[in-house]
Symmetry: C2
Subunit: 785 residues, 2 copies
């Protein structure tokens, strides 16, 4: 039997009616918010835009969480998977008071209610989805699939937080969501918070039943037991029964969570993964809405998905249905004369920061503490002269990340994500100070697995990305290292995060969160064990479409520049920083001091490699580690053969310097650009990725017509490192030839050298087909002393 008395149930029901009322009002009304007059056409918005179907269920959950937060004085974050149910989250944060605190123009009275209704899905107002504008939210939910990964990300290292995550049964069909159930294998009850998934089966998507709703409870139970949860079912449609069932279940579930945590935190050796509870909530789609419209089933069917009464402004019969529906909630029993929620109802909501709309974790910038960053110079590679030292750049970066982990170990606010590739990407120095988090069985021969690891590896880029987003949005820091080609798997998630950041930055009350940092490695030019499927440098193109304030693309050519860039990125906020760097042993070019000066400028002339004295015959430019190597080798060929040729070498670390200052804050002015690339000399530009991106960034520059970009031309397979560059024409020989072809003044000398390089290409081709590796003269080439 339940402890919850009938008064409390009644109170929750009235609160729910109010939330439903305020939700419907947002979708339909622009005036007459409390229906104190009969509903007239002009009270109804001309364009009815929004989603009703999921909304009553979301309200139901919100109201019940309010009760439990008050009862237990706990911190609960509400991740709303069906983010298109925006009216619910706006309604509830309004009713609890946070909305008006953040937006004083929308007060808690009749006028405020009128404005609240009108602004929804209205020009100049608020979007129809849960969005950055919505207090208490870290999740937009327009693109489905990421709610549960966000929820887990928010819970890591937040031991006092319960993250409730409503998963719609539509969203539950997506791949990323299906994988995210397994996140429980990475949540440590001793140091992390809890995630309470609520699978909301309202049965339908836009125009179809959902798979999970039609499976039957037997299979459903098996599925979630198989995922490692203890499922609790709350099913029905009678509000009174449902309130009772939900309240009892939430009590049971919160008890269970506290028991799991208490045991894990009692100091005993952690005993492996607990069976966390989850709730299956089966309630009708469009619950409490019109049962039928125009003779067609609406409530408990997909027709309630968006706007169930579509012509309420133009059609009197429709308007009547709407009015009847809204009055069924009894607004006069819910709001006082001023239009305020009656105090006995309002009292159900928690107060202060316990209100879900006011939870600081949902505005992570409020809690964000800067990382303690080690001085990268302490780890810099000794480079006495260019090209002498050989190092694996990402291995050096791994040492830096190790120190970041050490220095911030107590703060527990930094995690490293990667799909089983931390060691493969040569960041394994981090395992000197931490491990991979792993809550399953650990065998004696396992390596670097631990309950409390801060490295998160799962073979799902979606999970890595979703966890990290949730972690950052709740005020922490992190880095995601990924095989370059496979970062496209999360294109769409990055897109959504960029949109979130863009809008958040426009809201003064949303405080900046730490940047989303990527290391892309095992890149296109060095996929030794793999082939064409692993060769794609196009993420940069994708990211470059997002807002200039948000995106940065870095191509550090060696270890010291990579160190500088890493430190820089970890100190930034509200950005998406993409660092691309190889993991293979490679020549090092710049000392620490040189690296710092070069990276601060973003791009610059490498004097030591150049033979011009201010007036180059040709500019050899490069961005990316392999292109830099090949460019320098090409310059060596040219300078050796043609000592009188004035060659300028330009290296670009920060790709955004190429854009105009007017388009990107890091962009060079035209004067700065021309000072590097000249206004009229041929420029041979070896770029790490697809060549078009360089054209797109530079098409406004004076010298653009002379810019010849070599990059990845979508040719690849399993072959030698140098052969990959040859296949795409970005090798030293093709680069040197490209320069020679643009220097007709060389006459016969140029033509002869071009022919000689053709012969070297042919020799290379013969050699690798015989020996299976690159010619020693290519492999062992070093910049001349």
């Amino acid at each position: 039997m339940s402890d919850i008395d009938t008064t409390q149930i009644d109170l929750m029901h009235r609160y729910w009616r109010a939330a439903n009322y305020v939700s419907v009002g947002q979708i339909y009304l622009m005036d007459n918010p409390l229906l104190r007059e009969p509903l007239e056409p002009e009270h109804v918005k001309p364009r009815l835009l929004g989603h009703w179907g999921t909304t009553p269920g979301l309200n139901f959950v919100y109201v019940h969480l309010n009760r439990i937060i008050r009862d237990r004085d706990c911190a609960v974050l509400y991740v709303c998977g069906p983010g298109h149910g925006g009216p619910a989250m706006v309604a509830n944060t309004y009713l609890e008071g946070t909305y008006s605190e953040i937006y004083p123009a929308i007060p808690q009275n009749e006028d405020g209610l009128r404005r609240l209704f009108k602004q929804f899905s209205f020009p100049g107002g608020v979007p129809s989805h849960v969005a950055p504008e919505t207090p208490g939210s870290i999740h937009e939910g327009g693109e489905l699939g990421y709610a549960l990964a966000h929820a887990y990300g928010a819970a890591f290292d937040n031991p006092d937080l319960v993250v409730t995550c409503v998963v719609g049964d539509g969203e539950a069909e997506t791949g990323p969501l299906a994988a995210a159930w397994h996140s429980n294998k990475f949540l440590n009850p001793a140091v992390d918070g809890a995630v309470l998934p609520i699978l909301h089966l309202n049965g339908y998507k836009i125009a179809n039943p959902t798979l999970l709703a039609r499976m039957g409870d037997g299979e459903l139970r098996s599925l979630f037991v198989g995922y490692g949860y203890e499922p609790f079912f709350v099913e029905g449609h009678e509000p009174a029964t449902m309130h009772r069932a939900m309240a009892d279940t939430l009590d049971a579930v919160f008890d269970r969570i506290r028991a799991i945590q208490a045991e894990a935190r009692a100091g005993a050796t952690p005993s492996g993964r607990p069976r966390w509870p989850m709730i299956v909530l089966r309630s009708p789609k469009g619950w409490t809405g019109p049962k039928e419209v125009d003779g067609k089933k609406v409530e408990d069917f997909w027709r309630s998905h968006q706007v169930p009464v579509s012509n309420a402004r133009g059609d009197a019969a429709h308007r009547k249905i709407l009015e009847h529906w809204m009055r069924s909630y009894g607004p006069e029993e819910l709001f006082d004369a001023e239009g305020r929620l009656l105090p006995e109802i309002a009292a159900l909501a928690p107060s202060g920061e316990r209100r879900m709309g006011a939870l600081p974790q949902a505005n992570g910038g409020l809690l964000k503490q800067d990382l303690i960053l080690p001085d990268w110079r302490s780890l810099a590679v000794e480079v006495a002269r260019p090209g002498e030292t050989v190092a694996e750049s990402t291995r050096v970066m791994g040492a830096y990340l190790r120190d970041v982990l050490r220095l911030n170990a107590e703060a527990r606010n930094f995690r490293l994500m990667g799909p089983d590739e931390t060691a493969s990407n040569r960041l394994d120095a981090v395992f000197e100070t931490t491990d991979r988090v792993w809550m399953e069985r650990i065998e004696p021969y396992d390596v670097h697995l631990a309950r409390e690891g801060r490295v998160m590896e799962v073979l799902s880029e979606h999970l890595c990305q979703g966890w990290l987003e949730g972690y950052l949005l709740t005020g922490r820091h992190g880095l995601f290292s990924c095989y370059e080609a496979f970062i496209h798997i999360v294109d769409s998630m990055v897109n959504q995060h960029a949109k979130w950041l863009k809008v958040s930055a426009e809201l003064p009350w949303r405080k900046p969160v730490a940047s989303l940092n990527y290391l892309l490695t095992s890149h296109v030019w060095r996929q030794d064990h793999n082939g064409f499927s692993h060769q794609d440098p196009g993420f940069a193109d994708f990211v470059a479409n997002k807002k200039a304030e948000t995106v940065r693309l870095y191509f550090p050519p060696d270890a010291n520049t990579l160190l500088w860039v890493t430190e820089h990125c970890l100190g930034t906020f509200n950005r998406i920083n993409v660092i691309t760097a190889g993991k293979q042993p490679q020549a090092q070019w710049l000392s620490a001091a040189e690296a710092e000066a070069h990276c601060r400028a973003g791009a610059g002339i490498w004097r030591w490699a150049s033979s011009d004295e201010g007036e180059p015959d040709v500019v050899m430019a490069c961005a990316g580690d392999v292109p830099t190597l090949e460019t320098l080798a090409a310059v060596d060929i040219l300078r050796t053969a043609l000592p009188d040729l004035a060659i300028r070498v330009v290296n670009v670390v920060d790709l955004m310097t190429l854009q105009s200052r007017s388009e990107h804050p890091h962009g060079f002015t035209d004067e700065e650009f021309d000072a590097l690339f000249t206004r009229d000399r041929p420029v041979i530009f070896a770029y790490h990725g697809y060549p078009y991106l360089i054209h797109r960034l530079t098409y406004r520059r004076a010298n653009h017509a002379n810019l010849h970009v070599h990059g990845f031309r979508e040719e690849g397979t399993t072959t030698t490192p140098f052969d990959m560059t040859v296949m795409n024409g970005i090798d030293r020989y093709h680069l040197a030839q490209a320069a020679l072809r643009r220097l007709p003044e060389l006459g016969e000398r140029g033509a002869r050298l071009i022919g000689e390089l053709d012969a070297r290409l042919a020799a290379h081709a013969d050699y690798i087909r015989e020996h299976g590796e690159d010619m020693p003269e290519i492999r062992d080439w070093r910049w001349p002393a």
Copy 2:
């Protein structure tokens, strides 16, 4: 007790040893293939590249499938999820004879074996993964996640096919794979083939245990029962026991499949979804390989993932391990003096097209029959004069697709995929002739659900894409309709498919498959119920990076052009066709005849909208339906205010015409391009997507410096249709102003009109904030009669 006698078990074991031997040989050797001499350094490749860990398990499955195919004379397709186990599939197709038939340079003798070994992961040879080069394959498996979706796609409408799909436990952690288990809810035993998933738990990824391998059999069983399967477990490491267990299990499972199919095909009413069998195969990673190397655990651990003995060329002790390992398979007991597999072993494999490497379905172009296409003109919209008729373009396309479905109903070779959006995207005419396929319970009030539907809707873009790829690669046709923004979810899958097509086209024995066709709708400019998260037109940029031979981007501006483009795309092969078109009611511009002429050219001058007589003052160009509308409205404004201005209107349907002919087969020559866009006049180009793409495509053109592109600037929210264009500066007023600013010769007249348009923009802003919809003069604008 099993029917399979010991001789047969022994035979399978010997075949397996041969396959393992040939696999290891590929990874390591470049000479001495049968170890007839002691192993010397020069026999070992200098670069050892490949993946051993998964290979013995893949071989084990292959050999057992060979047995069952012979025993039952059935057609089996082998989808190899762990595609990095390339040596296995190459070894087996070689042993069964198909490899040498396709590649006569690699005969079945010692010399052939030497070549087979050497070419693997070797320059000029074959990639390390299962790839288009691998006979019998439709799946590369380098990027993990799609094996099971491909398998189901192959099985749809292939009633006599059993598609066996090995799912690695690494891949099983990915989102797309996790969702794909639910594909059983869409497979109809009466008309489709069967899919037999084999979850291969070898325990480890690159450097970690896998989640599913550590879960324990109880949870695992629950999980797959929850997914709707009947799991069979085959677990162990002793070959004799394992062969017996696998053979018995496969017999049981194939019996079960046939029973399900027999029941469904007996003519009774289909009774809903059967519980299909699946196998959990738990075997050691790197099975039969070295147990330890350098004192570290290798077999049954992640260290066997790639090359377990890493320095076999340079280090004598390592070479000894390798030699011992290879000799443990007893090559002298497997191959005859010529180097041929002994006939009694070879006899285990099926013959002819029953060999999995020779299965016609795995080279779908062999089976592909052209679609019977209706004449699109029969459905063309009547357009007496431009702008008079209003229609929803995708609704018209829906009627065309309905007719395609009807005409090819008997062939059962066309399916329509979409994530719950077929009706939302207004293609619902297709439901006049078919339904959505649905194997779960069907309620009396459900709409257009049926066991035999040819429309496939699931809220997972990954599944839609994966199914369609599998369907196309086995010789059928289809179209995927998707919300424009969310097609980014499958960026990476499209990438991999494009790579597959590119390589396949280079192999004469791979016959062309039908193109992958997209309709992207509910696009950026008309997201009425949704906001910023639903606004992203960047897929075109992503696709444009792929090979020119493969990709096409179409922006039909109205219904008749959309019809032409649809018919055209459905008749093509080996391409990725992306059609972007809106679903909202819009003015129609071209009659059927005009549409045909315009689309055939790909882009052209709209004379009826232009006021130039060959010498324009300004070119107003457009691509995309909303940009076309706004451009025409801008032209109307300009022509009304400045009747003497010579304006040329250019519309682009096929975006690839903008590229140079040298870069894309559809590209215009410079003469053709200049004839439309001039060499020196200002061009205001309103483009549907991110403006940079147009710059990237046209930067080599003479008039590029005068090209001013307006497009999506990443500004959006829930607002009115016209306001979306204003936010991004692609509305009629901004376009007209852009033209005026580039026409200084207009002097005061231009400046005055610019000011007037500013006033109209301000009036628009005021109006929508008051009324919530666009001004009637904007909404109701029509091209003047």
